[in-house]
Symmetry: C2
Subunit: 190 residues, 2 copies
Amino acid sequence: MERKSLAPGSSYFYYPRLVCVIGVRDEAKQTTNFAPVAWSTPLSSHPPLFGVCLSPATYSHHLVLATGEFTLNFLPHGEAGVAEQLGRLSGKRVDKVAQLSLALEGGEVIATPFLAVAYAAAECTLVERHQFGDQTLLVGEVLRVHVGADACDDNGVVRLDRIRPLLYLGSNRYVTTDAATVLQPSAAPG
Amino acid sequence: MERKSLAPGSSYFYYPRLVCVIGVRDEAKQTTNFAPVAWSTPLSSHPPLFGVCLSPATYSHHLVLATGEFTLNFLPHGEAGVAEQLGRLSGKRVDKVAQLSLALEGGEVIATPFLAVAYAAAECTLVERHQFGDQTLLVGEVLRVHVGADACDDNGVVRLDRIRPLLYLGSNRYVTTDAATVLQPSAAPG
């Protein structure tokens, strides 16, 4: 393959990635702040841990350390504009939920709500954090998961014929999956 | 939204995720082992760090600790069968590269090669590792990135009209993106 060799930081080669919106309560203002994160990953099955990268300079980072809990919110492709606005607005200055007229739903285990538009959401408590370069990896233990009644099949796999997950592509661009391309390779060598 | 409340571990709510194949040299056998990883994320921009989760029980984990370096390889959707086989075969028992007739390319900085079928690859040195639950997060510093000559646009964004990235959906299913759904929301509230 003809290739270009690039310095790190000059390409978005590790995208597309599922947009994960982190929700954190602002106890002083009695509001909940939501911020989109593209750098996140499951970390462990037993216990169920999920990691989210935030810059220590962000308001959400400050809030997570204060409350010790957060929600994860996964949005459909139609909400790309909401994700983009959640990233542009500063929760330090404005109540994003009020400004964007977002509906919230209460969880079962923690006090932090999740976004009603999320096709999947999870309640987490902060169990660890690690500084890696210019970001903090916030490690949450997943306590409870909430999915739309029709969002997953019997195996727990997201039904892409019904849900169009919002993926971030870099440089303020978003995309979703093509349900017609789902495949399950056989066990025989391809 | 009508919802189901689930215990963690009973759904693949955090998929789809880009398949990242980790390449690690096996110095004793003079081969390179490749294993697909779905749990990975960029961790920092300055310095450029990328994290990959591996079970401490895997052969790749053992090899990374021995060599201190690895490559990241991102495959097109057409290689789903290869990704599936790389996950099923054990590098401890077989030479996956020979068995699957995979072509390799040499990097510039480290000794570990990458997969010729990868539309994007990166050379990394292991700089840190952390145990989170049942997985180790291996933290690599990205030293050099190699992309197909036509894989990225002038902004460094993957050209989905030319590249169809392989995403993992859970339960041995794979999918790719729909290039017709790329959008760039305006700065005005949605």
